[in-house]
């Protein structure tokens, strides 16, 4: 018993000791290795400062971690009084842990914030972020891409990081095999349905997907639903009750999706695969088309060969005012409202938009940085050149940030699964959206006043 007790105390002592050294993250650590006669820059405070950065991005931009490390090294070499700790998160934990951190207003100085719209606004409205535009010059702001979705009350709240767009790609070899013209992918819904038929004849699914985790439902919504909207604020209006998801402009796309499912355009195991397993079908050359992101375009080119992969726009089924728009966005990095070193944090963030950093990001990851300064001559593939041309010439609209996350996840995504299961009709799906939104409105959501303002 004595030895047992001793063991317990030993363990507690060890854990307390280790906890002691780890607990130091809260207080700015004085690095013993730091040269004492380092010349601090005259404009910057001379005392030692520690910044904690929570970031995510490796899955979308493989190599982002390596780039981040090299930028931190470059920055801290110039500013020896600053230490920067990079903490990699995953997309779930960066949200989960940040909610807890925000609840007690303690946590990182810089945080990854997904895309724009509500993902940014919820933290803006809750007072968790400090606007980055307060620290940037108009010249610096001018070159950032996709700042509009991060703007509220005339201020830009997170700094654009790297670009993402939902792309549709197709396999030229399989198109030829199905007796289709590999240089003329379908452009209208009817052409797409005909393409599905041609693919069904050769026993290969026309479109690859994986609906088990439902995220692909969001991709389809982003690609299809925006085209029938009458204007940019239609979704927000339906959210606050000044419009309805039962209206034709919102409900039309459900019928289109239903037609695709009924025409057997997708792989038959669509419901049991998760998003990435669905994408893999295309990567293995087992499906004709795929909607995915920039990172997977690079993977598909690597797997299938440069000449086999084409990119196309999602076939149109309407000629509405927004039918030319496309969903592309930049991920963001924000400064927390409780950070004691906001200026230094901003200075570090702004350094990421310097020319060499922007170019280095693409060289390391193959994903463009969200800045017009990005040297487009660096682009390695024709497919990406085409994509960038579209991005720079077409209006942007991404619906994911335009409705409450609760409605997105408990109504929209499940309803797309319902269409895939054929357990919901297009009318049911529209009704589910409207009911889900109404139940959100009726449940005293926080910041409803801001929503109304934001919806114009």
């Amino acid at each position: 018993m004595k030895t047992k007790l001793f063991l317990i105390f030993l363990l507690l002592a060890v854990s307390a000791a280790l906890a002691g050294c780890a607990g130091a993250t809260q207080t700015p650590a004085v690095s013993p290795t730091q040269p004492e006669n380092a010349q601090p820059e005259p404009t910057k405070p001379a005392e030692n400062v520690k910044l904690v950065v929570w970031w995510w991005g490796e899955p979308e931009a493989p190599g982002a971690g390596q780039w981040f490390k090299s930028r931190v090294d470059a920055y801290t070499a110039k500013h020896p009084n600053v230490t920067i700790e990079l903490v990699e998160q995953n997309i779930d934990s960066v949200i989960t842990a940040f909610r807890a951190a925000a609840a007690s207003k303690s946590g990182p100085d810089i945080v990854f914030v997904f895309s724009g719209g509500v993902y940014v606004m919820e933290d803006v409205w809750a007072g968790n972020l400090a606007p980055i535009s307060d620290y940037a010059s108009p010249e610096q702001l001018a070159t950032w891409l996709d700042t509009e979705s991060k703007t509220y009350d005339g201020k830009v709240w997170t700094m654009p990081f790297y670009m993402q767009s939902y792309l549709m790609m197709y396999n030229k070899e399989l198109f030829a095999k199905a007796g289709l013209d590999p240089e003329k992918p379908p452009q209208t819904l009817d052409e797409l349905l005909a393409t599905c038929e041609a693919f069904n004849k050769i026993g290969i699914p026309a479109m690859a997907t994986g609906m088990r985790d439902a995220f692909m439902g969001g991709v389809y919504y982003s690609e299809m639903a925006i085209h029938t909207l009458t204007d940019r604020f239609a979704i927000q209006r339906a959210v606050v009750g000044k419009g309805s998801f039962l209206d034709a402009e919102h409900a039309a796309w459900w019928t289109a999706l239903d037609k695709l499912v009924k025409a057997k355009c997708f792989n038959e195991d669509a419901n049991s695969l998760d998003l990435y397993s669905g994408w893999e079908l295309f990567g293995r050359g087992e499906a004709g088309m795929l909607q995915a992101n920039d990172g997977y375009l690079n993977t598909a080119i690597e797997l299938l060969g440069k000449d086999k992969v084409g990119i196309m726009r999602f076939p149109r089924f309407t000629t509405g005012p927004l039918s030319e728009s496309m969903c592309y966005f930049s991920q963001g990095l924000g400064i927390t409202s409780w950070s004691p070193n906001k200026e230094i944090a901003a200075d570090f963030l702004l350094s990421l938009h310097e020319q060499d950093s922007v170019d280095e990001f693409y060289k390391t990851t193959g994903i463009p940085f969200a800045d017009t300064k990005f040297d487009q001559r660096l682009i390695k593939t024709d497919q990406q050149k085409q994509e960038f041309e579209w991005i720079s010439s077409r209006p942007q609209l991404c619906p994911e940030g335009l409705m409450p996350i609760q409605v997105w996840e408990t109504s929209l995504l499940p309803a797309t699964q319902g269409i895939f299961q054929q357990s919901l009709t297009p009318e049911d799906a529209a009704k589910m959206m409207e009911e889900g939104t109404a139940s959100w409105r009726d449940s005293n959501p926080p910041n409803f006043e801001q929503w109304i303002l934001w919806a114009k």
């Binding site: 989960t96 088990r212 195991d269 049991s272 695969l273 397993s277 996350i405 996840e409 319902g418 926080p446």
Partner: protein
């Protein structure tokens, strides 16, 4: 007089033994529960928190998603009798010391020690429509049994239940087996001499001897179903397809952490706590009845 003194002294000693536990429970449960009850009666959090009476409860009790989440918890309770009975049968078979029982006994416990997170990924692959499980069924001429295990909204919840059974069966089996092994052999021998069949011995000898362990195991399973299925759901189905596998804990996590709806999440948490208290009172009454 003497009696009350004795009780007084007993209470003092009891208090000393209870103190460390009560302090920790107070810290880990009491503060959060007060906080959660407060939030469930309010609108907004932190500086914006205002009293809202019972409106959150009215909203939540009418909410279709919450209703189906609660119903799913109740449906999953089916695994409690299945697992208890299954574990009893497996324990009895092992107790017969059939050939290779030591190896079986080792193997049956392996799923218990494997991390759910790890198993979720594996089962996600195994149970695909074109996955190994269906391939296997086809190869043994049972092709008509193939299903879209996780992709069909009518089956997904039961598949999750099946995975929980897979994971938890070994624990019950070993618990019961261990208890059986400490029962005196004479009891079984006597029953055999009396000509009792295998099933009769299970029913008349084993179960009465195992009552306490069975009760513990069943309670543990009920608790698992109500508040520890989150990992399974998150990794296997993410609540889908079409919300068919949402359970209370998943609901609380999503509303609290992802949707930024602390008040709603807290309300559901309070409701589940109330269910917990009711279940425990029922248990207490049943145990009292049995003991009488």
């Amino acid at each position: 007089m003497v009696r009350s003194k004795l009780i007084g002294k007993q209470a003092g000693t009891a208090f000393l033994f209870l103190l460390p536990g009560l302090l920790l429970i107070g810290f880990v449960y009491l503060i959060p529960i007060i906080n959660v009850i407060g939030l469930s009666l309010s609108k907004g959090v932190g500086e914006n928190q205002t009293f809202a009476g019972l409106t959150n409860y009215q909203v939540i009790l009418k909410d279709r998603l919450f209703q189906s989440a609660f119903l799913n918890n109740v449906k999953l309770l089916v695994i409690v009798p299945i697992l208890t009975l299954g574990a009893l049968i497996f324990a009895s078979i092992l107790y017969d010391r059939i050939r290779g029982w030591r190896i079986y006994q080792t193997v049956i416990f392996i799923p218990v020690v494997l991390a759910i997170a790890a198993m979720g990924i594996t089962f996600g692959q195994l149970l695909q429509f074109k996955g190994l499980v269906n391939e296997f069924l086809r190869s043994i001429q049972l092709g008509f049994l193939t299903r879209d295990w996780l992709g069909d909204q009518n089956i997904a919840l039961w598949t999750v239940g099946g995975v929980i059974i897979w994971k938890e069966l070994g624990f019950g089996t070993i618990l019961f087996l261990a208890r059986l092994m400490s029962v005196e052999q004479d009891l079984f021998d006597a029953a055999k001499v009396d000509g009792a069949s295998w099933w009769q011995r299970l029913w008349n000898v084993s179960i009465p001897q195992l009552v306490h362990v069975i009760e513990f195991y069943a309670i543990l399973l009920v608790v698992t179903v109500f508040s520890f299925v989150f990992d399974y759901i998150l990794i296997l189905t993410n609540g889908g397809p079409n919300n068919s596998t949402i359970v209370g804990e998943f609901f609380i996590y999503k509303f609290g952490f992802i949707y930024n709806r602390f008040n709603i999440a807290s309300t559901v948490a309070v409701l589940y706590l109330v269910v917990g208290i009711i279940l425990m009172i029922v248990r207490y009454q049943i145990v009292k009845r049995i003991e009488e």
